[in-house]
Amino acid sequence: MDLHFFRRAGGLLLVFTLLSLLHGSRGEVPTRPISAVTILPPVKPDDGPQAFPNADKANLPVFTMDYPRIQIPFEITLWVLLASFAKIGFHVYHKITIWVPESCLLISIGLIVGGIMFSVHEEPPAVLSSNVFFLYMLPPIVLWFAVVGTLWNSIGIGMSLFAICQIEAFGVQDINLQENLLFATIISAVDPVAVLSVFEDVSVNEQLYIVVFGECLFNDAVTVVLYNMFNFVAEMPVVEPVDVFLGVARFFVVGLGGMGFGVLFGFVAAFTTRFTSRVREIEPLFIFMYSYLAYLVAELFAISSIMAIVTCALTMKYYVEENVSQRSCTTIRHVVKMLGSISETLIFFFLGVVTITTEHEWNWGYILFTLLFAFIWRGLGVLVLTQIINPFRTIPFNMKDQFGLAYGGLRGAISFALVFTLPDNIGRKQLFVTATIAIILFTVFLQGISIRPLIEYINVRRTNRNLDTINVEVHCRLMEHTIAGIEDLCGQWSHFYWKDKFMKFNNRILRRILIRDNRAESSIVALYKKLELQNAMEILDTVTGDISAAPSIVSLYRGNKFKAADLKNMHDILSKNMYKIRQRTVAFTGKHALPNDSQTKEILIRRHASIRRSLRPGSFQTTVVPKSHKYFSLPAGKSLDSKFPPGRLSYTDDQETMSEVAYPSSRSRFQQPARSSSRAMMPLRRLDTLQEAPSVDTLNENTGRTERGMSRTKSSSSDSRVPAPRRHLPPSIDNEGSSVDNLRNGQHEVEEEEQPSSPPPAWVAEPRDNAAQNPLLRRPQWNPKKM
């Protein structure tokens, strides 16, 4: 679940903040930043430096400074830097971040800074006016909430607080019901950031994760609606039933409208990227612009902008990812993560600062009861809701899940922003502000810090993430088809049917329109390629590792059986160095780490590159290699297989992406027939047909090689190596051959296995289908300049 991707994709450009403040659109220019950054005023008392002063007025100033000119962006940059330094600081001591969620830390730093500022009577930068917040900063932090949960919470808390207000002792009788409801809405908004990261670290089961996530997603729609509604209503003297009804209708407009806009913009973006093959550099720009546009347009119509942006990102991810180049993908990912990170940092940071620097109105009774009710109602809400939906679920939520859900209701940025936008005619606005901040601090610190040990303690059901194996994928598909088939058979439809129908529609219509190079790719094949790719990249990565593991030829009897020894050897090598087909998890390891395959993808085009490993029974022959046949070097020009038929682990190198650098030299290599190096190099067939060059088991051989993996920009080396004798081939063999080649090519090559594309008949016991096009990785045409 690429939630991080689209979470971040929902992230918006802080740059806009910078830009807007550059034009001073909203923020008031603070008089000074914190005293630590006092800048000297410009040298000349008159405004601005004078580039060309009159000669008779004064001497030409050699050195001038003009602070007001850069003041705003400068200060913003400093704030961002400060917050980021804080972040670096946390991670220096790694243990902290395990136990204390980052939000807490950031708030603390903010508090400290705020304290400093307070003591020198500085104003915090006005970045935080609510419009700025909503337009620029909020998007990066996507909040979610379940519809009913929010409603429940809001109304429950509102009512209870109102009841409390009736008690004279607390002196808050002037808060009427509407205002209470308004306030309740504000503090019902849950901020999942801390929770989700904890859940992920602890690997809770997916159901729980999805629910929390989805809850937050939909929360926004409800919160915005309720807030506006209550806001509106709070100013009205009388509430009528028709208003309530309108409110409900408005909710649907907001929610569905948000989604609709998102999908619309997603499609438009996908369509646009269909034509961007020649202007690759600006592809990320499209993505960001469209997302932001979706957000703004949604704000224009006062519908749920967060839902718009999230659905936009979801749609885009699916279609756009196939259209844009590898680098654009990487860029987008990086930028989104960065922006999201910045925004999060800043918001919590400011929370801390503002806490200290605003005036507070404290009312013990009100605030404490607010806290209490917030807890109670959330717990009740979760309880009731799960009771209602559990019968419909195949895996019901047990008590532990429910506890996790309830306890994970941390408040955060949204509440913070919303409370600041309260109109001033609400009498007790300050009280609300104080109460909100109190709740946020409380939940973030207390719950945020304690949720992790609690979850681990009560042992919430974990998820098994290691599902990225080919077998699992194959069988998933098998199951789905089976079920779809059986459903057809018994004429009863359920969600598989619809899914099937949708996929058909998708393939037939949507993909044709939106994707440039539309060849439907089976998910099994896609996964397979992805795994192969990762494995290939691991080889590159671990090239300096002990590649010198035992090489040996894996051979299979013609009887299509795996010989155990070969298997063992294969397995050893694989698990030691290179291939780890199973247990691959492409998990986002954390907020600060990019996905594992990022490096992978940087290098190769996703779709069209992979290193394939196929075990062709026919091609393996038992190699009865007596020890004496251990070759330490081959006579030049000879191919190993002339001596004995090698068994191989065939790899197909289908990587086609080569950088321009690699291309020419590789090309030249291809033309050469069997190299006259000690290794019999099998030439690759013209690279652009991605043949399955019958793969040679190079894995084993190449263990001795010391080549460095190809540099990141290069990909496939089409280095083919011939499998050496079956037993261990001392590394030295390879060195010779490879070094020759390397030198010749002047570049380092991946040792992977490449395939000889036209194997000498002598030893290719492979069926001729070797030469068949491997449509798996067919590429339309090979273009060296393609990224």
Partner: protein, 220 residues
Amino acid sequence: MGASQTRSDHEHQHLTDKTGFSLEQIKNLHKRFQQLSGNEETISKEDLDRIPALANNPIKKQIIGAFFDKRNQHQDEVGSCDEIGFEQFLMVMSHFRPPTLKTTDEEKEAMRKEKLRFLFNMHDTDNDGTITLEEYRKVVEELLSKSGAIGQEAAKAIADAAMLEVASTNVPHMAPDDFYEGITFEHFEQILKGLEMESRMHIRFLDVDTTTMRCGKSTS
């Protein structure tokens, strides 16, 4: 009509115990059965072949074959029949029942095993208890046959890699002269350990009467 009604009710009652479906569901399925078989007592392979919606399913043959496979009847027989009656039809369907709130953990385990067994039988066409490379390849080929221009090569490669996965997961320490014959049921279970089959492989059999689809030539 009355007599046959009660007789079929009796039978159905007996079937509920055996297969776990409710009476309503059995009635619906019976109707469907009649539809498919053209009001006869048994269904043959051709009857199932005629269902138009199945035509697009890449593993149509395997699915149909599963119905006629004796191993799915929980009676410890092997081989396949040519025609099946309603009871066998139901037995096969019962593999796809969803778990309810009341199913205990052991029952869930048993269901999971059943479903895995079903899938296993789909692979293992020669009834020898293991899935060999050839058989696996065949399945993968079929799966991929409908999704674009993937050739045999790709399917082979994938199947091979998958076999290797299984082998390396299950028998990492084979002696030098062993062969890896094929995937046995235990290995099969092992590699699919992470997959939550109980929750994914089921069909919600409806209790109320739904309009069933036409199935080609056979008329209801």
